[in-house]
Symmetry: C2
Subunit: 133 residues, 2 copies
Amino acid sequence: MKPEVAEFLDAHRVGALATTADDGRPRQSIVYYARAGDHVLVSTLTDRAKARDVRRTGRASLCVVGAEPPFPSATVSGPAKILTEGIGPASAAVVARVTGTDEAPEPQTDEALAAVGRVILRIEVTQARATYL
Amino acid sequence: MKPEVAEFLDAHRVGALATTADDGRPRQSIVYYARAGDHVLVSTLTDRAKARDVRRTGRASLCVVGAEPPFPSATVSGPAKILTEGIGPASAAVVARVTGTDEAPEPQTDEALAAVGRVILRIEVTQARATYL
């Protein structure tokens, strides 16, 4: 990922996540995300459509758009996975983005996250397209 | 489409368009759009990947996100088509959104638009999901 794409992702907090539904239709939802190197992390629930789509297809895309004209944007995509192990720090990193704080909360255990159905949807960014960055 | 979704779409100008690529992957790009009743209109080029995807699959989705927390959003989707006839007014309506003016420019003829490869990608909104509207 180019530095300007990484910086843009870090400077924003929400984007449109796209997956492919089981009937082939594009499915989108708005998500908070965090970046970790060349990965994009989203916290979701194990039975959400987006999680089922990623388990089935192994792919996802995220599109982030700036607020002001000319509307800079970054669209990143690649192989995606649903993770359930060692996800405390990633989940805490996403919570910090939701609350808009620099410091992530104390990570929860995998067991505590599993008890409430929380998983991490992780995209390995292998394609990135930017406009006006 | 509920009035609050229509109003939100009208109050914004760009969004993440999602289609399904020929290998099943989700494909996204940022687009300007205009709304006409229960349709969402995007002006694109006939040989763009998004146009090819819609011709092949007949589906598209658009996700629009507000700029400030709590990040209101509308995600609309449904059957989609690539139109080449009678598209002057729709194309002019999208141009007006790009330039940010209330008044659309004089519509071009289908022939003039075809000469530069311009088509209209039209989504018939049959599903709409909103957050914080």
